[in-house]
């Protein structure tokens, strides 16, 4: 008997932005404290002794948080979407987006104006980032691995929860670059296609035991009573492989509704098993030497295959299914390559009068300030030990001062390298504090282009991910500012 429940009416929430301040500031606090190589970790758990997730990664945090405010739902969904595409710069995107909402909300300027101008500012930023004059972009020299290694090392060191020491970071960086090199085809065709890299996590082993193996590694449960037997081979001495993504455990189909009535003398399980054994017979007839099943294979079928010298691997998992079908002869999937990389720790600031935007000079100034302060606040969240953050007036790069030096007049003496370690400090540099709360005088001219020479200790970020993150943040903030009501389906 089923019970019908009356549908609940939808919930109408008007002006969702008015109630978002408190949860937004909490979310921003969580995200900011996670940012950067010195970011703090979060323990996510259910409070009753369950599994503890220790992380500072945006995908892990946002994936587990169940935010209920509609505005935050929009925000996290949009960041997660970015992360699912680029696997990088999630925290940057989230923090920038939150800051933009916070700063714009306090302006008391009509949202349509804010949106228009922020779009314009975004286009200025993206144009600059793409231009040749961009002072924070490094092009990759593929004749030399140094830049790629720098990029990988920067990403690895920004994950404090991994607890990697320098040797381990170097080892992993080399492996990752090596794995990438393996994906580049030896004989370039008209339309070169990169190969795919599969990660197999092995628990309980040391980081330095990690390795790159050409081909596909499939984990199997310990092969019992392992007496290696000769695998069936075809006449051309290759092994035929059959891949199953459905369960072969002999489960019955599960009727959603209704009941199946069976005579007692008929065993559904046995008939199901007979079907499986028929499949097995077919496989043996087809000279298959290796059967890989994503799920479980029935022990009887396994026994049958083994007796016929067919290797059966079950519980292979979803992650190897697609690569397996590739290895065994299907088409390769295009692997996207981030070729452009730019410096992570500085954010270019621009002020420019625009034509064609309908607003007063003051309004424009206010919105542009809010935009810049949002960018600055991302940069500021790199510091976690109460240290100062400075920017120089020549390059516009970001400089981190360790805590314990409250006000030194001559910063040039204290600081040697900027955050991304491209620029060295010189006596003639002028400094200002980066404090998102206080408006401060901007750089008057376009920043100088540093003489970029890639060294092995530089901090680099993936250009494409950051570029996209910037756009996602601004566009999501604009979307949220534009929300006037939320209708929630409560069923």
């Amino acid at each position: 008997m089923s019970c019908l429940e009356a549908k609940k009416p939808s919930l109408f929430i008007s002006e969702p932005l008015t109630t978002v301040s408190q949860p937004l500031s909490l979310l921003i606090a969580i995200l900011k404290s996670c940012y950067g190589p010195a970011g703090r970790l979060k323990q996510l758990h259910n409070g009753v002794g369950g599994y503890v997730c220790l992380t500072s990664q945006s995908s892990a945090i946002l994936g587990r948080l169940s935010v209920s405010h509609p505005v935050l739902k929009v925000l996290t969904a949009s960041v997660q979407n970015h992360v699912s595409r680029f696997s990088d710069c999630g925290l940057f995107t989230a923090i920038l987006c939150c800051s933009l909402i916070e700063n714009f909300k306090n302006l008391n300027i009509a949202s349509c104006t804010v949106i228009k101008i922020s779009k314009h500012l975004l286009s200025l930023c993206t144009d600059y980032l793409k231009s040749e004059a961009c002072g924070c972009r490094v092009s990759v020299d593929f004749s030399n691995l140094e830049t790629l290694l720098c990029l990988v090392r920067s990403i690895l060191t920004s994950k404090p929860a991994c607890m990697l020491n320098k040797t381990e970071v170097d080892h992993l960086a080399v492996l990752i670059v090596k794995a990438f090199m393996f994906t580049v085809p030896c004989h370039p065709e008209a339309k070169p296609v990169l190969g795919k890299c599969v990660t197999v996590p092995v628990k309980g082993r040391r980081v330095l035991d990690s390795t790159v193996i050409p081909g596909l590694l499939i984990e199997t449960p310990e092969i019992q009573f392992a007496k290696p037997f000769p695998v069936r081979r075809t006449t051309s001495d290759t092994v035929k492989v059959a891949v199953f993504c459905v369960s072969m455990s002999g489960d019955l189909f599960d009727p959603e509704e209704g009941t199946v009535t069976v005579h007692r003398r008929i065993s559904l399980e046995m008939s199901e098993l007979d079907q499986l054994l028929n499949v097995g017979k077919q496989l043996v007839n087809d000279e298959v030497g290796l059967v890989v099943c994503q799920k479980v294979i029935h022990p009887s079928l396994k026994q049958y295959l083994k007796d016929n010298h067919v290797v059966a691997v079950d519980r292979a998992g979803l992650s190897v299914m697609e690569p397996l079908s590739q290895v065994t002869g299907n088409e390769l999937v295009l692997y996207w390559l981030a070729a452009m990389i730019y410096c992570t720790n500085d954010h270019r600031l621009f002020y420019e009068n625009s034509k064609g935007v309908d607003c007063s000079q003051t309004q424009y100034q206010l919105i542009a300030d809010a935009f810049c302060h949002s960018l600055e606040s991302v940069a500021c969240s790199l510091s976690h030990d109460d240290g100062e953050i400075l920017t120089d007036m020549a390059y516009g790069h970001c400089w981190l001062v360790p805590s314990g030096f409250p006000s030194v007049t001559n910063w040039s003496d204290l600081l040697s390298k900027c955050g991304c370690r491209i620029n060295s400090s010189t006596k003639d540099l002028n400094w200002r504090h980066l404090r998102p709360l206080f408006g401060s005088s901007p750089i008057e001219n376009c920043p100088k282009e540093p003489s970029v020479k890639v060294a092995d200790f530089m901090m680099l970020d993936c250009f494409a991910a950051k570029y996209n993150g910037l756009q996602v943040a601004v566009e999501t903030a604009n979307l949220i500012l534009d929300l006037s009501c939320v209708i929630e389906d409560q069923n």
Partner: protein, 715 residues
């Protein structure tokens, strides 16, 4: 509108680190070779258990806090990979948590603590490489000791420094031993039989009276929170208390005159000096004073060595060792037997009489032997209704049908013996007994594998799969007889021995009259087996007795001094920013000293536990004295080596030898130890870097209504 609770962690008085430190404090007496045991009492069932390892302790503690959960995971991970080093790990977690809290008090930035601590440990690990010695060299060295004439009459296999106390121990125990429990001359480890008798009794003396603390559990788990000073514990309900007092009655039946050929064979082996096989000596050096296990392991090593010479297999194979716990028998009954020894019910034991002197067919099953059991990954269908045409058929029900079907399969293939990995249906068990089929449940995977290899049996999951080709043959079953050649019945269970010609499997029979010690004895035995296993796997060992930790202490102190000097020196002016360099050097010194504190505490607690020092103060004075001497010597590592050779500070804590000045040299595992350090430090640093707990799931709404809701922020 609230979906998540959030608690910020105070950075100066880090809650997580405090939790770690207080949890770890409970384990400080478990450190070192002379560890004190703890009674874990479950107040709800009044059952108690004697524990002696960090793993058992952590299983018994209330770990609902996030930090506790992480600690548990870390210890479980170490256990999974090494089975040893958990106590070291637990202790260092506590020591370094406290040290890091001190650093926070001195306003050292978190990032500086993290980087300097882990670099410091890496540097220590490199420094102590000079204290590694290859297993080959250990064997040579120990063999050279053994050929020296010993004060005792017995030959080289006699453990140095053993005989002097034997007599005393013998007297001590004599009054407790009834005539019926006298160990006969022809026992498992005969050197001189009397001497052997004494040795078998060394163990109780060593472990009696060492029960130091009682960990009480609290009925209501929710109230048992970790406080600053104490930790409350509770036994997990699912824990198998294998040594309930009902097991401890010793009945003497089944007295048999059969000679146990295999045991005699083994005894003959252990009586020889074993120049051929240095592993026995290595085992002794790794035993850290656990004499009864040494004897058992030496027997195992010799037996396996013998096999390895014949078959060319590996020297020491951990997969070919099983244990059988027999609570209720005196510890002198402990021995090693080829084959597999299992406990069965008296009803099943009657089947064995029928088997006498008969070669049997064996079946291996890798699941449960019940009607309901299905292999992993099989989901039972819902919504399936069975119809029956003739109600009369239903009389016995489908259950009987299954029973008779299964029995038919077993009988038709003439199966005599079934080893089942999981559980067995009681009714089927009864029917099998009636048909003279012996079914043994809860058999471990490695035992199944060993029987599979040697008999050719292939394991099946269901009896319906069974074909004649899956069966193995050539198996013999008999009642197990102790070293006095009597079969025995222990309360409700009877030990039986299953053997096959040429089976590499060995069963260590572990006995004790103190039922609550059973788990502890088994744990200690395995710890020791794994120590030898890892030593051979590494191919090298560390100088033991605290030598390695002492060098770490001395090294980290030296690093701290260096960075202090650097802070003062004008040399830093050469660097770009002298101020920055000076300040970071100062931080560095503070953090490195914190790292050293951990080693210092470790050494002093071990010295107290082993009674090398009467108090922590005395221990520290002694350590400082040696540190000073090491510094004066110029090369601390050379000093440590010298002290170790001399048998000074780092001597073993076994009973000192009567004949020679030298104490017993002890060695430690290399990889397991260094991994334990690294894991301990990683855990502390991870918790240090945590600034907030985020509580997700249903607990959030409870928090919202609870009195502590002010501590939380809700998203």
């Amino acid at each position: 509108m609230l979906a998540m609770a959030f608690r910020a962690v105070n950075s100066r008085r880090h809650i997580g680190l405090q939790q770690l430190s207080s949890l770890a404090w409970a384990g400080r007496t478990l450190l070192g070779p002379m560890r004190s045991c703890k009674f874990v009492v479950d107040e709800s069932t009044n059952e108690s258990m004697l524990i002696c390892s960090a793993l058992r302790l952590i299983e018994s503690l209330d770990l609902t806090s996030a930090a506790g959960q992480l600690l548990n995971e870390t210890i479980q991970a170490q256990n999974k990979e090494f089975k040893i080093g958990m106590s070291t790990l637990l202790f260092l977690v506590g020591a370094w948590s406290n040290a890091v809290l001190e650093c926070l008090q001195q306003n050292v930035p978190v990032s500086a603590i993290v980087s300097v601590m882990s670099e410091g440990l890496d540097s220590c690990c490199e420094e102590v490489q000079c204290l590694q010695i290859s297993v080959h060299d250990v064997n040579k060295e120990l063999c050279s000791i053994s050929v020296r004439p010993s004060a005792s009459e017995s030959k080289a296999s006699q453990i140095p420094g053993h005989s002097s106390l034997n007599h005393q121990i013998f007297l001590y125990f004599q009054k407790d031993i009834s005539a019926s429990e006298r160990v006969p001359r022809n026992s498992c480890f005969p050197q001189e039989a009397d001497c052997n008798f004494n040795k078998g009794l060394v163990w109780p003396l060593a472990s009696f009276g060492s029960v130091a603390s009682l960990v009480r559990s609290v009925d209501d788990k929710s109230t048992s929170v970790v406080s600053g000073s104490g930790v409350s514990a509770s036994i997990c309900k699912q824990k198998k208390l294998t040594h309930s007092r009902y097991f401890s009655t010793v009945a003497k039946s089944h007295v048999s005159t059969h000679l146990s050929d295999c045991q005699v064979y083994l005894s003959g082996q252990s009586a020889r000096t074993c120049e051929c096989c240095g592993l026995g000596y290595l085992a002794m050096a790794l035993s850290h004073g656990n004499q009864p296990s040494v004897k058992l392991l030496q027997s195992i090593v010799e037996y396996q060595h013998e096999r390895a010479e014949c078959s060319g297999s590996s020297q020491f194979s951990i997969a070919e060792i099983a244990t059988c716990c027999l609570p209720g028998l005196p510890e002198s009954y402990s021995c090693v037997c080829p084959g597999f020894i299992a406990l069965v019910s008296p009803e099943q034991a009657t089947v064995i009489k029928y088997f006498q002197d008969k070669s049997l067919w064996i079946l291996l099953m890798d699941g449960d032997l019940t009607e309901q059991y299905r292999h992993l990954g099989f989901t039972k269908p819902r919504n399936v209704k069975t119809v029956v045409e003739y109600p009369s058929l239903q009389e016995g029900g489908s259950r009987d049908l299954w029973l008779s079907n299964m029995l038919d399969i077993l009988i038709s293939l003439k199966v005599n013996l079934v080893l089942v990995k999981g559980d067995v249906c009681e009714n089927l068990m009864e029917r099998c007994i009636a048909n003279n089929i012996l079914v043994i449940r809860s058999v471990t995977q490695n035992v199944l594998s060993a029987f599979g290899k040697v008999t050719g049996a292939q394991p099946v999951t269901y009896l319906t799969q069974l074909r004649a080709a899956c069966l193995g043959s050539g198996v013999w079953v008999e009642l197990w007889k102790g070293c006095d050649e009597r079969a025995m019945e222990l309360g409700q269970l009877v030990p039986v021995r299953i053997k096959v010609q040429g089976i590499p499997l060995l069963t260590a029979v572990l006995t004790t009259t103190v039922a609550s010690k059973m788990q502890l004895i088994e744990d200690q035995f395995w710890t020791f087996v794994y120590r030898l296993h890892h030593a051979l796997k590494d191919g090298k060992v560390f100088l033991g007795g605290g030598a390695v930790e002492f060098l770490c202490l001395s090294h980290s102190q030296m690093l701290a001094e260096q960075s202090l000097k650097l802070a003062d020196k004008s040399a830093v002016k050469e660097s770009h920013s002298p101020q920055l360099a000076a300040s970071s050097s100062e931080y560095k010194a503070v953090v490195l000293r914190a790292l050293a504190t951990g080693w210092n505490l470790y050494l002093s607690v071990i010295m107290c536990n082993t009674a090398k020092a009467a108090s922590e103060f005395e221990a520290r004075t002694l350590i400082d004295h040696h540190l000073q001497k090491a510094a004066d010597c110029g090369s601390p590592s050379a000093y440590v080596l010298k002290e170790f050779r001399r048998g000074g500070m780092f001597r073993g804590c076994s009973i000192p030898s009567a004949g020679s000045e030298e104490g017993v040299k002890v060695y430690d595992n290399v990889t397991a130890k260094m991994e334990a350090w690294r894991r301990a430090l990683d855990l502390v640093l991870l918790v240090l870097q945590t600034d907030a707990e985020i509580i997700i799931g249903p607990k959030r709404s409870q928090l919202l209504n609870s009195h502590s809701s002010s501590e939380f922020m809700f998203l």
